[in-house]
Symmetry: C2
């Protein structure tokens, strides 16, 4: 019995997200289908976490247990002939049988790209959130400091999600301008994230950047634990799962 760990890049545009669901096409389903052809077994792939439809991954991690004797490092070569070209394997290896992509993860980093130009751009459309308004980046950077640390992030979770605990730790948030200030890149590092948490944080920080909310509002949003107080959920196409740490 082998435990195989895959590191996966994908463009989420054409998928209803990571997790297998009825009647829609998902990344998990495509990967499991390809692995079933290779191993001749029913495969249950464990991802480090779900990503929503339209969200991308630069290095999603997933693992599966198999009786197939294929060496771990062979999967990355074999899978390229069996996967659609918007799902690619960056690495594959055999790992300790106790490794679990989800529960063994200690830290994750996400990137969120806002395109802050005046007019929409064809090449950014699936990879950024087009926001043609003035954004005060210094206000966002100041406010972001209040999110660092261990907090109850219930206000930053998609409504109707059910989880045991809404307490999470954010280690860092960086916000930088790139490409002649046309892009604003958010990088968020935390131990684990609630459903839509990064997108709601970005939406809320943007509303601070617009001057619609201020730092006091942000403190109240955190303490009240009420999704309705936080800002909008930034759309999925700007979000990239960047790295999962173990």
């Amino acid at each position: 019995m082998k435990n195989i760990k895959l590191t996966i890049e994908y463009e989420g545009t054409n998928y209803a997200g990571w997790q297998r669901q009825d009647n829609v096409i998902t990344i998990q389903e495509k990967l499991e289908g390809a692995l079933e052809i290779l191993t001749n077994e029913k495969i249950k792939l464990i991802g480090s976490g779900r990503t929503d439809g339209g969200v991308h991954a630069l290095a999603q991690v997933a693992n599966f247990i198999t009786n197939a004797t294929i060496p771990g490092e062979r999967y990355k070569y074999a899978l390229k002939f069996l996967l659609p070209d918007d799902i690619t394997i960056m690495d594959s290896e055999e790992v300790d049988i106790g490794f679990n992509s989800r529960f063994s993860a200690t830290k994750k980093t996400y990137k969120y790209i806002v395109y802050n130009g005046e007019l929409p751009k064809a090449l950014y459309r699936n990879f950024s959130y087009y926001v043609p308004y003035d954004i005060d980046i210094d206000k966002m950077i100041d406010a972001s400091k209040y999110l660092i640390g261990t907090h109850d992030f219930a206000s930053f979770m998609a409504a109707k999600s059910s989880v045991k605990s809404t307490i999470r730790t954010i280690y860092s948030i960086s916000i930088e301008k790139e490409k002649e200030n046309e892009l604003i890149i958010f990088k968020i590092e935390g131990n684990s994230f609630l459903r839509n948490m990064v997108r709601i944080i970005v939406g809320t920080l943007l509303e601070i950047g617009f001057g619609k909310l201020n730092v006091e509002d942000l403190c109240k949003i955190i303490s009240e634990k009420n999704r309705e107080l936080a800002g909008h959920t930034a759309p999925p196409q700007g979000l990239f799962l960047e790295k999962v740490f173990y």
Copy 2:
């Protein structure tokens, strides 16, 4: 009567290229359709040149003559509601009635991206040429110098193209590695280009980088004026029309 100049960004993936043709979807047709709605006239759009199916533009230029009284700078705002999201207008302005996007152009720059990683990458698939082989970049840089200047580029033109002259001038070629050497970026600047010329130049330089051809072969390819001697045509998705100068 006004002459309106448009600067256009597009992703070529879903189009059969710039130029209007029967039975396929083209960028020219999408733009003319949108302009006809705005102006209530039949519009003939003049592009700076054609791009093939799958080729992208960061700043294609096109112009059209119209009796509509719409101010030039309004087109860029109005067109965003009428175009598909993979064709976007970066700028629009009224120009001198004698301006012609094709014949007034004095210089063009193209960018070609080779992805030189071992395994394919989902996010690069529509925006680069995946070449998982060793490439000697110094050999390519040396060889590229022989292409600079005014030459008969008949060997670097798609077979069966018909043009009056195959003499063109290349002002510069740069070849650089980026993103931890995973990308090789070619930038080519010239007065005008033959059909597939940039893609055949890149294909030929890559064969020099592989060690399949050498500098003497390149000189022979140029002097013999025979398409069959040059290297392969690099695929369209790595090519970007970067800028048109007037």
